[in-house]
Symmetry: C2
Subunit: 256 residues, 2 copies
Amino acid sequence: MEKLTLIKVGGKIVEEPQSLKQLLSDFSKIEGHKVLVHGGGRSATAIAAKLGIESKMVNGRRITDEETLKVVTMVYGGLVNKQIVAGLQALELNALGLTGADLNYMRSEKRPVAEVDYGFVGDVKEVNAGILADLIAKDVVPVLAPLTHDKEGNMLNTNADTIAGEAAKALSHFFEVTLMYCFEKKGVLMDENDDESVISEITPQLFEKYVAEGIISGGMIPKLENSFEAINSGVKQVVITRADLLNSDTGTIIKL
Amino acid sequence: MEKLTLIKVGGKIVEEPQSLKQLLSDFSKIEGHKVLVHGGGRSATAIAAKLGIESKMVNGRRITDEETLKVVTMVYGGLVNKQIVAGLQALELNALGLTGADLNYMRSEKRPVAEVDYGFVGDVKEVNAGILADLIAKDVVPVLAPLTHDKEGNMLNTNADTIAGEAAKALSHFFEVTLMYCFEKKGVLMDENDDESVISEITPQLFEKYVAEGIISGGMIPKLENSFEAINSGVKQVVITRADLLNSDTGTIIKL
């Protein structure tokens, strides 16, 4: 199997021209097949505000009413996605921007209303990776926006971490996939006050031990649970690191 | 050669939910391979206004400064394009939304400043139709937004009629292409005050005669000149009609 590296970056890094330029340059240097998944929440919030639409967040997730859905469709699928695609094309990567509706590569269903009504938010139900894999094999570089569709004519807002995990799992039928989650730290830390205390490798056994000892806590727990789920579903390895360290050995490797 | 129908529709029809629904239904009934090219100017103007950006038009073309470029990238590439793609997916067409940057399928250069500085507007220089043709042969339906890129990292605003004409010409190396321009009339009229006076067929000889006689004038002249240029460049025929008459025989056929 050929190797594929799937990188997920948050909104901030792709929303500032200087950090975006550096990211795309670093990304272009990754050897072999690659996929980029991006956020765009800050831009969405800023443009929503200018349009007089208030952004409401619950548990870090955006409540997506009809007007907000239009904003995220514009900002994630248009503004942020196309700036990245044009930037990669300038670096001689044959980028192709996609939402889940394009090629019907990722279908979701509107999240049922439980304690919270998240509105037009989609939970992923089906990934059609075959046509994506064909394109990747021809050196196309998919650039995935955090949007899906319900195959009934509606776009839906979907978390970029989820898009990355689901795409990585589906593509692992065709490639040996490394999934890299970039966030603001160099990796998972032994001591949250020491940015240099990066744990180089985490196995399920170490994960249980660190959780029991309180070393790993809070939002890092679901992030790592998702990483193990990806590995249990065929992804070769997951790396948690900082975007400017993509081509270094710094970061936390999650493996079985 | 297999047949391909390339339909260009203006902004208005894709910007109102009811007419969009009808258009997509009509479009889905066209037999064989197909491509849809859309505008979105009214939505761009409306959203620009809400964002406090004034829309300036010269000769019917939008002056595209830096902020306006962001708006059209969002609106054409995101909002309008993805609503169409999701709508076609619901009708079982495997739609793929594209700007010129995606797959580098259409490269342009920023228009030189002459009498008017149009800003970030691109004149088409190169169409890479091979990868598009491969996808179309696999029953993918490209949905083309009126945006190109300069291969140097910048998106550029490009007229939808131009996108349609250039795409039709490039795809005529792979398919027998019919290009249909939809506008507000049933076709080219003998009498502009009589909507039923549709000229059923125009050849270059008839065109010269009608222009000399003043029957064809104004904005219809460049539209027809572009149509003849497409035909001279390999497009099988061009049809000018109204969007709700796509599947009828009504309209003006332009042929050699």
